[in-house]
Structure formats: C-alpha cells, structure tokens
C-alpha cells in the first residue's frame, strides 16, 4: 500500500490561494509515489520565484538555488550520482529567460533530468513584469501599454535542440500531469514538461486555458514523429496538452559519461589513486 504522506513536508506552501503551482506540487508528489520512488532517492532542484519554492514543500532532498540555474545544479548532481532521480522545477522566468541557455544544452546533451517549468506567462514573485512567454500586447507593470515583444516558443525550440521528451500539462488537470511526469520519470534522458500554471494574482488565464485545452491522446495523437510534433505544438486553435514527442533511442549524457568513466561515479570514488598509476602520472611530461 502506498503511503500518500510519504512526500509530505512540514512546510505549508505560501503560494496565493488558487495558484496553479499547488496542482503541480500535488501532481509531482503523486507521480513520485506511483513511480515507487523513496524520498531519499529523489532530489528536487529549483531556482528563484514563486514556483521555485517547491523543494521545501515536498519531502525529498532539495536544492533551492539561484535564479535561472537549477539545470546546471541538477546536472552536476546527476553526473556525480546517477542513481538519484533528479527533478528540476522552476518558472518560465528561470527556464525560458535567464537560464534558457542551460535548458537548450541539456536537451542537446540529453541530460537525465526531468524539468518541470511552471509557466504562467508572467513574473509573479517580483510583482508582475513581462516574462519570456508573455503575449504580444499583454499588459504588465513593465508593459503598461501592452507588450511589444513576441513570446518565446519553448517547446519547438527544445525539440529542435534535440529534446527527447517534450510535453505540456495543465495544473487544472493534476491527474493528467501526474501521468505525464510518471512517463518522464521512466524516460531515458532529458524531459521538458511545460506546466501551464496560471498566476491568479497577476495574469489569471484559468478560464481561457480551461476553454481551449485538449488532450493529445484523446485525438489519437502518437508522440513518435518530430514533424507532427511541431504541427501539434503550433495549433492556433487550441492548447494541446500531453506528450508531443518522445524517443528512447538516444542515450542520455550520463549513460555516455558512464561509458568513459567505466561506471566509477564521483560520489563512490572519493579516494586516492593506486600507487602504480601515480608513478606513471608523475613521469608523464618528463
């Protein structure tokens, strides 16, 4: 019998009532539970912002890091000890703005990190400024007359960068989100889960998303064709959620590192070198 309190923390989330991030937190806990993970086997890494408060609210190992940098911290953890399940969880400012570079390269390398981006199209904690996913014309504190900047399209960008698991979910449907996260946890390598997680205070798009979203699988969509994935992501008439693309054919970066280091992972190898090796090293340049 699964203990539903396994991942419960002593800290109550301080998000605004109705915040989409509650749904993401619930979905993540549920997915970890149903995937049979134990709290000590999991590390949740985050950045800065409302959504990045996640680590304290879920009882696993956690690293609440700098703005934009959860991916490299997560990658360092995974490279040091690939037995850990490493989840990065942050907002659109973190992952599609200041730290997008790291996401693109994580996709390219196929780092074995599951990244959940709580996308609310706004900077929430800093009280409502334009984010990389804010829409053209969107009125915010930094765009009082409406945004004059086109939003970034993270999903096709990451797919183009070599993404091997690209999905979108909606915090209004945590059950579906949990299923997608469970699939991501099984995935071989990097998974990007764009989680639409509306900000009820600064940019409430709940009703709109509820009206427009549909599940890809309900339309018989199979996530095995890259070209079709681009088309599906760019649906102008609705907001598809689910897995757009997935391939298990690419080895993860950590698998490839293991081929080079022979499975001798840094956390297990904190020791001096054998004497014979030392002797040959000392004379390497002589």
């Amino acid at each position: 019998m699964l203990d539903p309190k396994l991942f419960e923390s002593d800290t109550r989330a301080d998000w605004c009532p109705g915040c989409g991030d509650f749904g993401v937190l619930a979905a993540l806990k549920d997915a970890l539970l149903k995937s049979g993970k134990q709290p000590h086997e999991v590390v949740v890494v985050s950045g800065i912002g409302c959504s990045s408060n996640m680590p304290g609210y879920i009882r696993t190992y956690g690293f609440h890091g700098l703005h934009g940098r959860p991916m490299p911290v997560a990658i360092g953890i995974k490279c040091a000890n690939p037995r850990l399940t490493v989840v990065a969880a942050a907002g659109d400012g973190d992952e599609y703005g200041i730290g997008f570079n790291h996401v693109v390269h994580a996709a390219r390398r196929n780092d074995d990190i599951k990244l959940i981006v709580m996308n609310n199209e706004i900077y929430g904690l800093t009280t409502g400024q334009l984010s990389p996913t804010s829409r053209l014309g969107q009125k915010t504190k930094t765009s009082p007359e409406g945004s004059i900047i086109y939003p970034i399209k993270p999903l096709p960008t990451i797919l183009g960068a070599g993404g091997t698991f690209v999905a979108r979910t909606f915090s209004g449907d945590p059950k579906h989100m949990s299923l997608v996260i469970q699939e991501a946890l099984k995935h071989r390598g990097f998974a990007l889960i764009d989680a639409i997680s509306p900000c009820v205070t600064w940019h409430n798009i709940y009703d709109e998303v509820k009206k427009l979203f549909y599940k890809l699988e309900d339309r018989g969509y199979k996530p095995d064709d890259e070209q079709k994935a681009y088309e599906a992501m760019n649906d102008p008439n609705g907001i598809p959620i689910g897995i757009f693309y997935r391939t298990e054919d690419k080895a993860s970066f950590q698998e490839r590192l293991g081929e080079v280091n022979g499975g001798r992972w840094p956390v297990d190898e904190v020791k001096t070198l054998p004497e014979s090796v030392c002797r040959s090293l000392a004379l390497e340049f002589a």
Partner: protein
C-alpha cells in the same frame, strides 16, 4: 657589455611563428635536459593565435634547483627574423645563436656570442616536403652545442612522434642527427654542463600538477568551459577520464560550470572547476551559492592579464582583489596561491580538506607563468594524501531530525554543521541559497521580518563567518627564503616567489643582505602571526604582478604593516630575476644613504 652566462646553468630560447611547432620543440628541449638530470623551469611566450605572429619558448636548466627564467640567453634559436630581432639583445657572452642564414640575418651579434649557422631549412627539406622539421634540425644542433648525448634527443623525438607514426619519428631523428653533426664537426660544445642520464626528473606545469593532485585527493568530477590559460587542466582531465575514471562536464558556459560543480559537491562528490578571470566573473554568483549552502567546492583561477578579456596568453596576479570580494555580501572563503607546480600538487590535497572540513569554497590562484607553458621540475611527488571529509553523517544524531528534515545547518560550537548527502535514507534536507534556519526552512518569505527572524539571520551569518577564525589556524605562515634578519626583505605571493628566489641567490653572491617572505596561503590571513613575522623584517619590498600591489594592500589592511617599496609589473610578461635584483640593489643604496 653583454652579461656573462651563469656558470652551471643554461638558458635557451626558441622562437618562430605560431604553427611552426615551437611549443612542442620547446617541450622537447625541456625533456632532453630534464632527462639529462638537470632542474628545469620553462616559460611559454605564447600569443592568442593559431598561425603566424611570434611565439617563443624559454627553457632554464641547471644542475641545481631553478625557479624562474634565469639570466639572459645562452642560446637563441630564431627560426624567423622577428624572433632574432626580438630576443638577440638578451644573449649572454659565451652563448650562441643557432640559425639558418638563408632565412635569418644575425645582425649586431653581441660580443662573445658564437655564430652557429646551420642550413636548417635545407636539411629539413631533405626529410620532408615541408620545412616544418627545421626546429628538429635545430634541436640536433642545440644538443651538440650543449654537449648532450644525441641518443637522449633521439629518444625524446621517438616518444614525441612515435605514437603518431614511426616513419615521422624516424625522419625527425635523421633530420636532428644532421643538425647535430653540423655543429659537432670538429668543434667542442659551446657550453657543456655535467649531465646524469640515469634518472629523469618529473616536470609539470602548475595546471597539470593541480589536476593530478585533485584526482589523487579524490576529485572525480571536473567541469570547465575552455579559457586560456586554464584549458590545459580540462585537456588533462579529458585525456585521463577513461584511465582514471573521471567525470568531465564541458558545460555551455562558466555559469553552468560553477553551478554544476556546486551540484556535484552537494551530491557528495569532491568537485572542482577551473577558469581564468573572465570565466570567474561569470562564476561569482554561484560561488556565493556554494558559501550560502555550505557546499564544499574547489575553484582554480589561472590568472591572465586583464581586465575584461585582456591578454589571454600573458601573465598577471591581478585577480586577488576580485577573489577577496567576489560575490555579494560577506561569506567565508579560502584563497591559496601555490608558488609552483610541486606546491600546486599538494595544494589540491589541502584545498579539498579545507573545503570539506569547513564546508566553504576554496579558491586556488595560479597564473599563466606557472599554470600553462611554465613547467618546472618536481622533486618528490608523494601521492600518500590524507582525505578528510569533515563532519559527514549517514544517520542523524540525537536532536538532528524533526520527523521531516535533517538539521543540516545546525548551530554548533565550532560553527560547522554535520552534513549528509542525497541518497542517504532519512536525512533529507533542502540546501537553500535563500537565508534559512537550521532545518533549511526558508527565511526569505513567511519568516522574514518576524521578531524571531532578525536574531536568527544574525546567528546564521555569524555561524558561516566565524568558520574563518578556525581556518586562520590552518593557514601556513610565509616561508622564509634566505637568512633571517636580513637588511632587505622581499615580500612575494604565489608565483612572484620564483624570480625573487633567483635574484636573491644572485644578490647573496654579491654580498647583499636580503631574504624573502613567500606567502602561498593568502586568505584568511592569520593576522597575529603574520603581523609578528612582518614586524621582524626591516626594509620590505613588495613584488607582485599587478598595478596596485593588491597583496600588499591586503597585508596593510589586515596587519597594519606597510611596505617600504614596490616592484609592480603589469606589462603581461613575468618578472625576471634581473628586475628584482636591480630593484633590491637600488634599495640598498637608499638603505646605506640613510644609515
């Protein structure tokens, strides 16, 4: 009047354009002399380009310990006119210039310098379609001129090229033999030292030495983004990844490098990264993250001349101020600056032990002069390292758990909290870069501004900062070079000790009363001890490679002791012993005038 070369020493410089194989030729000279039982120090006069321009490689060898570039040039091998024009004025009387008169005009040769013209290009073209082998021919000529057995060079060539292709190696040996024969015919060597071919001495740069030392200290995670002059470290790590079981993460930028290093260390690895000043500027926010999360990392900065991108292949000790203040607000850090390759090797052991014992970031400052092309002989490498991981727990002690979390940031009498690593059952905690309480609860949101928060924040900041007091007790005092009680004391830090040592040796021959205090543990300074030592010095001259005298200012700040004189160099070139010597001699006049 040209200087006389130093008895028992050899200074050799080979120069040409980038792409002419100068670095590899210079390294072969180094190996030949090292395998002949001499002590070696080299310097790589490199430029930031791949083809063309002017590059040179300098080898200083002696029957006793060398530290720096020595005095003048006993041998100059200019493969281009520019190489001759740039360096011939340094030639010592009693030395020689080895050159090809068909491509170089040896004008204004200083008195007492032998003219060894060798048809380098012609010989090279007999063995290859391209003249690239002319530096090999020159190496043959050099070996004859210094009286080293040709077999030593033949073996060095075989080791250098043999892996690529046997015929390449054989052709090079033949070419070298011809160069050797041209100089040897009927003439005794120009300058011959006593050679001992029985035991080669290990040579390495500080960059390679710290790489080896780090791995031997248990570091198996290394991350980098390429940047001169730190790149040789990642080259070494990547080349040894399979053999030694290393995990090397070549990241997309230095921000990623530092964050990944913090992540790996948090996960329980011993993790290191390296860069130069510009890369370090990108790393600085994450260095604060390491300090705030009390994650032990070792970061190497191989300094080059700046600011900004500056001079990528020229040297400097200009990053000290940056390291003292790097990243915002106060946090503890340790700064070490080994003087040479050998000390760099052992510094790796200390850096990781200090980092893990005190859970602080440790910064190791090297520089281009010793870190990249600067090889030096290392006497005895003792690989018997101690690995001290500090307070590492696999299960919580009493009171260390609240049913949810491990008390990772516990306030303790020595200000160091027990640590656990992810994967350990029942020890979950959140490492926070936001201010936090002992349990890792966030203090930036629901706790901020509450009555109980201000004293808590105060205690957490004190807990981190007070570690510095204990670390001071582990800092090594400066090493005294020369006799105590000298009239003049040279103050050095890191690699500036090297030219100072050669100058002091020379000054002692001239009867000057001088010694040096060489600092390699830079911060935190053990103020009481350092003040006491500095007060014993009479006339103090600060020698360092930056504009403002950064280390002298640190000493003045923390001890109140001011320098009497400064030798500050910031032209991109390393300090030469002659510069220290002249400065001290000028001071001696002042000292005597006052007396």
């Amino acid at each position: 009047m040209p200087h006389q070369g130093k008895e028992g020493e050899l200074t050799i410089r080979i120069g040409a354009a980038a792409g002419d194989g100068i670095q590899s030729a210079g390294e072969m000279i180094m190996r030949v002399l090292s395998r002949s039982g001499l002590w070696i120090t080299t310097y790589n006069g490199n430029q930031s380009l791949i083809r063309g321009g002017h590059v040179w490689f300098h080898v200083h060898a002696a029957a006793w310990k060398t530290y720096s570039m020595g005095y003048g040039l006993d041998f100059l091998i200019p493969l281009t006119q520019l190489a001759y024009d740039q360096h011939y004025e340094r030639l010592n009387s009693g030395g020689a210039v080895i050159y090809d008169p068909s491509s170089v005009k040896a004008h204004d040769l200083p008195a007492g310098v032998r003219d060894l013209s060798v048809p380098l290009g012609e010989v090279a073209l007999r063995h290859d379609r391209r003249p690239i082998m002319r530096n090999t021919v020159a190496l043959g000529a050099l070996c004859a001129a210094v009286g080293v057995d040709f077999d030593v060079l033949a073996k060095v060539i075989a080791d250098q090229f043999g892996r690529k292709d046997r015929s390449v190696s054989e052709n090079n040996v033949k070419a070298a033999q011809e160069g050797y024969d041209v100089v040897r015919q009927g003439a005794p060597p120009v300058r011959q030292l006593k050679y001992d071919y029985s035991s080669p001495k290990p040579v390495m740069t500080a960059g390679y030495a710290i790489s080896m030392g780090a791995v031997n200290a248990g570091c198996r995670f290394y991350s980098a983004y390429p940047m001169s002059p730190a790149s040789p470290i990642v080259h070494w790590m990547a080349a040894h990844a399979r053999k030694l079981g290393l995990t090397v993460f070549l990241a997309e930028d230095e921000i990623s490098v530092m964050n990944a290093t913090v992540g790996a260390a948090y996960a329980g690895a011993r993790a290191m990264c390296a860069t130069s000043g510009g890369g370090f500027s990108l790393m600085q926010e994450a260095l604060g993250e390491a300090a705030m999360t009390e994650t032990p990392v070792v970061v190497v900065d191989v300094m080059r001349a700046g600011p900004s991108t500056g001079l990528p292949t020229k040297t400097s000790q200009g990053d000290l101020n940056m390291m003292l203040g790097i990243s915002h607000d106060d946090f503890p850090r340790v700064i070490l600056a080994p003087r040479n390759a050998e000390e760099s090797f052992y510094t790796a052991e200390r850096a990781f032990n200090l980092a893990e014992t005190y859970q602080v970031p440790v910064i190791v400052l090297l520089d281009y002069a010793i870190g990249d092309g600067g090889y030096s002989t290392v006497e005895n490498l003792d690989f018997d390292f101690r690995i001290d991981r500090g307070k590492m727990l696999s299960a919580p002690g009493p009171g260390d758990h609240n049913g949810f979390w491990f008390r990772r940031f516990a306030l303790t009498s020595d200000n160091v909290s027990p640590r656990a690593v992810p994967g350990t059952p029942g020890m979950m905690f959140v490492a926070k870069t936001d201010e936090h309480d002992e349990w890792g609860h966030d203090m930036s949101d629901v706790l901020a501004g509450l009555n109980e928060s201000a004293p808590l924040r105060e205690r957490m900041q004190e807990k981190r900062m007070k570690k510095l007091e204990a670390i001071k007790g582990e800092m090594k005092a400066p090493e005294l070079f020369g006799p105590s009680g000298a009239d003049i004391t040279v103050i050095t830090w890191g690699s500036s000790a090297n030219p100072s040592r050669e100058a002091i040796r020379e000054l002692h021959r001239k009867g000057v009363s001088v010694n040096a205090l060489e600092f390699s543990d830079i911060f935190p300074l053990n103020e009481v001890e350092v003040t006491r030592i500095l007060r014993t010095a009479r006339t103090k001259v600060d020698v360092e490679v930056n504009y403002t005298g950064q280390f002298a200012k640190l000493l003045a700040r923390d001890t109140g002791v001011e320098m009497d004189s400064y030798l500050l160099k910031y032209d991109g070139e390393p300090i030469y012993p002659i510069e220290v010597e002249k400065h001290v001699l000028s001071l001696r006049k002042e000292v005597h005038a006052v007396a």
